[in-house]
Subunit: 140 residues, 4 copies
């Protein structure tokens, strides 16, 4: 059990090191356990769209990273097949977002994860669902 948690943390650390876009986003990993991750980022001016609120792609990217960190951390290389996001509240420059990924289902070949994104006032700003395919390859 303890070993699995350490493996999960090591896998995510390895993924994050090479993940240049998550680095650009300024993502920090807050917590990792088997099938779970919690990450954070702060919204910068270059992340806004034509309406002065954050581009939908930024919230998606944060959730997608949380999804990747959760679904890969059994050291079973998993690829995103089918993802969706609903936007429930606008996000502004300076907001601090936290994305938390929970495992809804983990099968041999596929997995399903829900990610909720909240702002610094604990308001849900977006809800993400990810279905992944497990390749059976290792990451580390």
């Amino acid at each position: 059990m303890e070993e699995n948690q350490q493996l999960a943390a090591s896998v995510v650390q390895h993924m994050m090191q090479e993940d240049r876009f998550s680095q650009w986003l300024g993502i920090e990993v807050l917590e990792v356990s088997v099938g779970y991750s919690k990450i954070t980022m702060t919204i910068r001016p270059e992340m806004v769209n034509g309406f002065g609120i954050i581009h939908g792609g930024i919230a998606f990217s944060l959730a997608d990273s949380a999804f990747a960190f959760a679904c890969n951390n059994r050291n079973n290389l998993s690829v995103a097949l089918d993802t969706a996001i609903q936007f429930t509240k606008p996000v502004h420059v300076g907001d601090v977002l936290v994305a938390e990924a929970n495992e809804i289902h983990s099968g041999r070949s596929t997995g399903l994860y829900h990610i909720f994104i909240k702002n610094q006032s604990e308001e849900t700003v977006a809800v993400f669902k990810g279905t992944c395919f497990r390749t059976g390859k290792t990451l580390i």
Copy 2:
């Protein structure tokens, strides 16, 4: 008719001018008409994830911009409610992506759009669906 097309082009030009994240992505607008848009971008090294292929958020962001340019260009301010993307092929640094947004349904209060993303070999790399809510406000 001609007027509507000019309005559509003007709205997208206005949106793009303020859209700092689409600018960071290097998005160029290829074509706009009422309820339609076609845009392109080239994948750079800072867009990859921990597996050396592009982060899912990059493909999503491209599609989401195409969606925004298509669903807003009647000059009826529309917000993304519910979006989804399926990934069908990995994308690599140097790939040139084109996203084309077509209107499936345009109602008074909501709209539905399909966006296909293809690479330079005309292969579909991702398929996006966007449902928007129309606020009734103007953009320009």
Copy 3:
């Protein structure tokens, strides 16, 4: 508060009376509160597909009814815009399913609901998401 709960129950009772397909499915309402519903049904032989397990449409229909009962019960007529379901476990004839709808977001014009369907062993067999549009009309 108490009044809102009674209104919610009355709206669902009204909806169920006229809902011939939910009647065919054998749906029973277990619990209703504002923005929430919990319903059940038992799988019959005429609900299976060509593989001898239940047709995906049956699980979807159960979830969609739970969604409708939850998102309409403020007596604000709401229509399903965009729904999705992931299937995590096969369902067989004789299984007793329970669908529970929770409100993730309730805005003036739209709402977002998650519905989990579990079998008699408390295993999650499907997960549903529904986005609705609120018309502002009353039901009763």
Copy 4:
């Protein structure tokens, strides 16, 4: 090629024979080819919801059957993983619906299909997306 088409038709015929819910719906198969299907049904009074229009589960079920007939007809048993449907127009008793399933992507382990449902006036009433997992088992 001709052989593949015959196999596709045989697989769907086999699936339809055992598919008691599709039979209840009154589904008729109009056309089948590799990765493709086109089916029809007529809306009956027992298919309506509490608002007097068809229950969302009926349109979903029709699309889901078209999806199953398209994604299984290479004789590679495939299960629905992740599906979604958007509703663009109400459907009434007596309407005749046609669902057409097209293959967007066919990979070794997964597939992606779009299904459009139209009514007798050629209006799109719903749009469905299905992601399946291929088990590698045969159906016939």
